[in-house]
Subunit: 387 residues, 2 copies
């Protein structure tokens, strides 16, 4: 319809959880957009929010400078697994991209097979130590999707923090083990950590303990029994108190300390700074560069609601688009009607997958085609309006 040159379109969706990954979504979106503008310049930048899919999104965007690798570490149940992670070599510096869900993921059956009170984040510490060994000094750590609730004790333990019982014997770095914790000794903590830069990718703002803490809020979905919440919460509080004392730093009440069963606490104790997962991903994939000079962008996610505006990937894409005056439209699996009014300030139109009455199952089964069809229709309207 447009008589102008074919446009430059940025495609930056988050994954549709349980349906399509962000890279597959970019393929489907491009297919739809090209039906309208075969010669369009498409800049596909799969997004993520620090959770599941973050590693893939970053690796896809960074290209040759990034390597996908695996490392043998312990999973949540203590058994070995090959955990995937990424290393970006850029400007002489090495940055590791870690998804803790690749090590202690809630979708890992072996880890989920043992009681949550026996699960540990030891493997996360093992991976960090191995990367320090090869000179990595910058860590981007996504906290989404963990199965653990150990306050990050396992990670700290693997990095040299000694956890000791009243009888001077080491305690297991698990919720159950921490119940017997008497002393914490930081004298053997890996000294290289002080030179490392660590960024936590997470949108969780809960503190470590208390009624809004990790155990009370996220524990139940990991298997914490209702009558165990207060016991575990008390054990984490005691562990935090001792660990903070040993490292002379107080972070347990900081927002995000309760992320990933308390890994947010342990990483902050090591000096990690919290950052919006989607913002970090946007930086890693050079989203701003892609938006520069673009005519239009499409973002999206499985389901958009009021939470979307709390730093989820589509919100971050919209905010970055706004800065450079690129309109960003939303195409999600579903959009909560109650959020549309708030969305109006951010998105140049919000659209959903179904082309009529349709079940969730049908949407998921046919997601790729539906995405292409919707993107095509959005592009037709965009083209007609700008033509």
């Amino acid at each position: 319809v447009s008589t102008k040159r074919d446009p430059v379109v940025v495609l930056a969706p988050d994954s549709f959880k349980g349906s399509l990954g962000a890279s597959d979504l970019c393929v489907a979106l491009e297919q739809g957009v090209r039906r309208v503008w075969p010669q369009a310049t498409i800049r596909a930048r799969p997004m993520a929010d620090g959770g599941e899919g973050t590693l893939d999104a970053v690796l896809a965007a960074v290209g040759a400078a990034a390597t996908r690798r695996t490392q043998r570490v312990r999973g949540a149940a203590g058994r070995g697994l090959d955990a995937a992670f990424g290393v970006i070599d850029r400007d002489g510096a090495r940055t590791a991209v870690i998804e803790v869900a690749q090590i202690v993921g809630i979708t890992d059956d072996a880890g989920m097979a043992v009681d949550v009170e026996e699960r540990t984040t030891t493997g996360v510490g093992e991976l960090i130590r191995a990367l320090l060994d090869e000179g990595v000094e910058r860590f981007m750590i996504g906290l989404g999707g963990s199965s653990t609730n150990d306050g990050g004790a396992g990670m700290l333990n693997a990095l040299g923090l000694d956890l000791v019982a009243q009888d001077d014997r080491p305690v297991a770095p698990t919720p159950r083990g921490l119940a017997n914790l008497a002393r914490v000794d930081a004298s053997k903590l890996d000294a290289r950590l002080s030179r490392a830069s660590m960024t936590i990718m997470s949108d969780v703002s809960n503190p470590l303990t208390g009624p809004r803490g990790a155990t009370a809020v996220f524990g139940p979905q990991k298997g914490v029994q209702p009558d165990s919440v207060s016991t575990i919460d008390a054990a984490l509080a005691r562990f935090a108190h001792l660990a903070e004392h040993a490292l002379a730093r107080r972070v347990s009440a900081e927002p995000g300390a309760g992320a990933a069963g308390g890994l947010g606490f342990a990483l902050q104790l090591l000096g990690a700074r919290f950052a919006s997962g989607a913002e970090v991903v946007a930086e890693l994939i050079a989203l701003d560069h892609a938006l520069q000079g673009a005519d239009w962008a499409i973002t999206g996610e499985g389901r958009s609601d009021a939470q979307t505006l709390s730093g989820k990937a589509p919100f971050v894409v919209a905010a970055h688009g706004k800065r450079v005056h690129v309109p960003v439209s939303l195409l999600s699996g579903a959009i909560d009607a109650g959020a549309l009014e708030a969305f109006a300030m951010h998105f140049a139109g919000c659209f959903a997958l179904p082309a009529g009455p349709m079940t969730l199952e049908a949407c998921i089964a046919d997601a790729s085609r539906l995405v292409a069809d919707r993107a095509e229709q959005m592009a037709r309207l965009f083209g007609a309006a700008s033509g």
Copy 2:
């Protein structure tokens, strides 16, 4: 988003059958569009296709020059009813707008209570006669939604065509009565008909009889039993043969003769010309005038599929928009994915009601809000692209 003046938007949807009328749709669409452009110039032109809703659409668009009236005539079962119709007084000429469904409608319980073989279109003839009495010379007749299958014998009979049995007694102008038809006498046919201009609004192209005829194709949904199809079809064929002979005109094989159980035949026999229902409505509501100088138009219908391009209201709106270079977008309750490729040539984007997985019932129950929400989002995208 746009920095230009607020746009001129034409809203010309057909009704969403079983959910929202075209006028209500215009209200909901306007609500959504005004959330984006409070000062937009909105030209609401509810559309129709000659079927249900045609009278309302025309009366709404024509305004003060049109009057909604009722006339006591016989319904399909022969019992009296007050049939609604419209009269437009313009340029010294009077045009009647008639929906046959208001007289012999398939939604009229009294008419449906008697067997289809006893139903008659006598009331349609009575209304035309009454209008001729008051000087109306132009008739726009919508044929959608009839319950009758009498070949239009009832209408012709009321207008003076005598239907006679072998024993010289009159036969009833019903499928059952026509089985005994021996002669047709046109000598007392209302002479004023020859001066009247009659336009049939219908998209049906079936002939009167045969395997694609009224009885075989539309009879069953009106209650014709499978084993009666051939008997009734033969009676209509015989009636048509005699009536054509009496009026010295052959129209039974014409496309559309099978519309409204053969009313299409009877009206053509009186010289009526067939026209696309939506095209006639577009003319009556002065759609072209509304589109002149507009920036954008939205049309729609309950469900869009390949049939939409066979002259349905949204297609007609798109075609008229194209002539004056106004992009026309489609917003329907549901859109058949298989039709999207063909729609691409006609519509500036096709959108459906649901904002996520949703049942048909939920769509219908919440149609007004969904329409406003979708129109708003379409307008946001349009504004961003044109701004």
